[in-house]
Symmetry: C2
Subunit: 358 residues, 2 copies
């Protein structure tokens, strides 16, 4: 923090990053009035260049340029043609890096390198990109407050990533913080919007291809839906959840992954006939000798919280010692919630880092 | 904090307080291993006396005495016959006061006086007792970090109370923290277990008196169920939620309260016939000229998250600008969750107060 402002750098100015800039602009007065917090964007990097101003960029200029698909590097005075995100970090020395770079599930780059650089500089990091966490959880935990147990890392910079699992559904926060008093034995989730929408479409009589095409038409499924349909997206989200909340120390190879391609109209009909519903389920549970992580279609009784979800809804259920069952669901037909999740992470960092030492 | 330990005082050793002591004992090693946190109970006050040891009380001794209904003041060496909670506070100078005194919705005592004394001494406060918050929210907020906006109070002691609204359902936390990036427009909740259970029993064909007797038999309803049935309990919980999350600055006189006594078997049948279900609803929403707070039975479509709740479940739905709808539900047939909620509040204070200043 400098001059009473928290200085943010944003890497990646796609839907999620641009959404964050819009929320920062629209809520500036409210954040100041309600929390006394001033957030200032000092740098934004995208492919091909950046914009940088240590005294704070004009959010309207950034938002207009992005809306008109003009390169940020072309903005007068603040534009930096060719500047890479990592160089922007070194020039701006932000308090917080907000990483909204494209998801790369092969090597986690460029998000992983950026996050590591920022942490090594002492900057806090908020990630919307699940790649780095899915692939290098232990390394990032060791470099941040996460490794020293749940945000209590003595002096290490904070790492937050609530946007990486199921958008604005606070999966990590619920497990990490609201159940901090409990011993969690099992987590069940519907973490992938595409598979939820497709299976519910098939329940309404659509064929698999038809239901998928509908999801693509509505902007829920990607043009290449393989990662979603075959369970990989949900598996990475489950992995991040389990490593954070259960401390499993697992990698993606530890997750048993099934695809909803195996689900037929007959199976769905049969399930409905016996009071069940087939759900794209992700499960992490403690076992006698460790943990079990599994993703794939599974029939659940109609009374199960995850069987009651809306087709546009994602959900999670925690089972714990004393709170027998805590469930949550988030209805989010649009991608804005990921931007909102980034902002709540920024505010959580501000809160935990200005609470004042006892 | 002293010698690496956070020193806790507990006021009130009924079900919730005793449950907290049991959790502190059972989870001691886990809390140290996982979070590096040492919590030490240095004082416990109940009616007629207290136990006190600045180096830390033996939790097994406390738990055994409570189980055998022996006065804590009679414990060898640490017992303090006749010592009042406020005197215990002054003698122990704890880091955190955990208030689990009986709920008093007339003047909030003794919890209110204790909380104010602790805050004035610079101690953090965790309350399970909703009386002080329902009746003196503004005063407590002004004396704690809550008044300076959501836990950011510069140096002021922390006040947490997530156990006061719907047990372990993290209503306040979801609104306060997970939706910190959003503008919340409306909150709906089923915050009272008795009315939820009774209305669902009536749906299954029981008369009002029969359903209520069943709830009392199962330990869900109090012997005198008036506060629950007539909506006052839910009204106080709604008030705490609205004042914390929406900043309404309301008092209980601002809540329109209806009783489920007005619900007849015919009304329930009629609702079911038209695809609806009558729910004991609490609503807080922004209006053009302020806020509207209302509690009472209301028919909701069967697809509404609060219409899908289990008879033993409480729930909440937040409506916000960008996250269109976030809902959560907690199935809790027993009272232990309130103890778990107190422990999570203690850990939240430890976390925000040891995060290290930036």
């Amino acid at each position: 923090m400098r001059d009473g402002r928290w200085r943010l750098c944003l890497a990646g100015a796609g839907h999620v990053g641009a959404g964050l800039l819009a929320m920062l602009r629209d809520r500036e007065e409210d954040l100041l009035a309600r929390y006394g917090v001033r957030l200032s964007v000092v740098g934004v990097a995208e492919l091909g260049g950046a914009a940088c101003d240590p005294t704070g960029l004009d959010l309207n200029d950034l938002i207009s340029a992005l809306a008109e698909r003009k390169p940020l590097a072309g903005l007068p005075e603040v534009g930096r043609p060719g500047m890479a995100a990592v160089d922007l970090l070194r020039e701006c020395e932000p308090d917080i890096l907000c990483g909204a770079t494209p998801v790369n599930l092969t090597d986690g780059q460029p998000g992983l390198g950026l996050a590591e650089t920022a942490l090594s500089m002492g900057a806090h990091v908020v990630l919307a990109d699940k790649g780095p966490l899915a692939l290098a959880f232990d390394r990032l935990a060791a470099a941040s407050d996460l490794g020293a147990g749940w945000g209590l890392g003595g002096g290490r910079p904070a790492l937050r990533f609530s946007a990486t699992v199921a958008g604005a559904l606070p999966v990590v926060n619920l497990g990490h913080r609201d159940l901090a008093g409990e011993e969690i034995t099992r987590i069940e989730g519907v973490f992938n919007g595409t598979t939820q929408y497709v299976l519910r479409g098939m329940e309404d009589g659509a064929g698999f291809d038809e239901a998928l095409a509908d999801a693509q038409h509505r902007g829920i499924a990607e043009a290449d839906p393989t990662l979603d349909i075959d369970g990989h997206d949900a598996a990475f989200k489950l992995l991040i959840t389990a490593n954070t909340v259960l401390g499993t120390g697992a990698t993606v190879d530890d997750v048993t992954i099934g695809s909803i391609r195996s689900v037929t109209a007959e199976m769905i009909k049969e399930a409905r006939g016996s009071g069940q519903r087939i759900v794209p389920l992700a499960v992490a549970e403690r076992t006698a000798d460790g943990h079990r992580l599994q993703v794939g279609p599974q029939a659940l009784g109609e009374d199960h919280p995850l069987a009651k979800l809306h087709p546009d809804e994602m959900g999670v259920v925690f089972y714990a010692g004393r709170v027998r069952q805590l469930s949550a669901a988030s209805l989010e037909p649009h991608p804005e919630p990921a931007s909102a999740a980034m902002l709540r992470d920024v505010l959580d960092i501000v809160r935990t880092r200005t609470g004042g030492a006892q």
